[in-house]
Symmetry: none
Subunit: 243 residues, 2 copies
């Protein structure tokens, strides 16, 4: 699936153009269009902030205005913090990414962002098929331009299947309960030997609580082997000290 084109309308700061390019490259987007950049183009600060993204991963081109930048695009999403009076569908970045995924493969899409100080004006929002809004606090809603590009690009990468499929991947299989029991038996025997369960009247409940604790923890087979090694090492040392 072709990633969406990112269109920055009249960006003010070169730093934001560069940071947007960098995060686009992070998430696999490859075409950046800017219109009427305030500080001109090329821009040294943009190139520094891009950290290499503009040397291959992301192609950048400059247009006079949003209409020109969108000329060959079939589907346009406009990002805006404010709810508009314009009658356009409103979606969040996740819905926009899923919406993109359901479009014909040959269709070209763009996500459009406004200038830092003011955001997109109504005339440019009115060029879009839909509006994207992000879940910002009403009391602190001014999102940095490159951060807005980051979140929408991230959602596109997630919609491509970039997420982790199973939350508990990197853990080896859990130990069998029989091995956990054997470990508990081992520990209890050694603690008995060390007269740990005292006074006598409390020994039974101390043992029960130890069992419950060992049962609750998600021991892997390796964890059980490690724990038994520690018990052995500690009791060997205790033994040698007694001599």
């Amino acid at each position: 699936m072709n990633p969406p084109v990112i269109v920055l309308v009249a960006p003010q700061l070169g730093e934001n153009i560069g940071a947007a390019a960098r995060v686009m490259a992070n998430f696999g987007l490859s075409e950046l269009r800017i219109t009427a950049p305030r500080d001109g183009w090329p821009n040294e600060k943009a190139i520094a902030m891009a950290a290499g993204a503009l040397d291959g991963p992301v192609a950048i081109s400059v247009f006079p205005d949003a209409a020109a930048a969108l000329g060959d695009i079939e589907r346009v999403y406009a990002t805006t913090a404010r709810v508009r009076e314009l009658s356009l569908p409103v979606m969040d970045a996740r819905q926009a990414a899923l919406d993109l995924m359901q479009r014909p493969e040959e269709e070209r899409a763009a996500i459009m962002f406004g200038p830092e100080a003011s955001g997109l004006n109504n005339a440019d929002v009115a060029r879009a098929n839909a509006v994207i809004t992000l879940p910002v606090k009403a009391s602190f809603s001014s999102l940095n331009l490159a951060q807005a590009v980051a979140v929408t690009s991230y959602e596109w990468a997630m919609a491509q299947g970039g997420g982790v499929s199973a939350p508990v991947q990197n853990i080896q299989t859990l130990a069998r309960r029989g091995d956990v029991e054997a470990m508990a038996d081992h520990l209890e025997a050694e603690l008995d030997e060390a007269h740990y369960f005292w006074p006598e009247a409390k020994a039974a409940s101390m043992k029960l609580n130890m069992r419950a604790m060992l049962s609750r923890l998600a021991w892997t087979e390796q964890d059980v082997r490690s724990m038994r090694g520690w018990i052995k090492a500690l009791t060997r040392r205790a033994g040698s000290n007694e001599e």
Copy 2:
């Protein structure tokens, strides 16, 4: 639900501390902890980049190291770009946000980020309950620190129900925006000619709403050809009526 604490371990650039604070405030997070900031604290560049986030919305505190910063935290997520040999569960930011939502309300959680150049070292990753990874391209995986904070903070806001509830419909084979603009220009010119945009005081908003309506409709190429044919036919008739 209390938002997670963000912990930046040994951040190098004040700009990134400030940008992290700003995006935390955007998405409703309120506590930032930094350890051993390279350029010291307070830092003028951080305060400038925070755009007011450090003047109330986000409380910041400084610790000597990660162990100290995590002392009163019950559950820790470590963000890392590389797959580690450590046997910790690996999840994406969305799964981590859902995981957070399922924890007891009184539990305190933190999301930890490493220094810009190197990321978290293994000793600090080993302090975590789980690892968060983001869907970055292997060929361009170095995500800016504040961008990583943005995505994880965004996912927390989304998990809080910050998204848009209404889904959006799909239509096929759209016309290019250039053709839609040309159609809008054509209709506006003919309506102007017909003195349609009246009274004068309302003309601008009538035109803007007309543009928004034309943008919202999922015009196919055939739709655009039909519409332009209708405009021509109607204006021809109007012309013949004048005779």
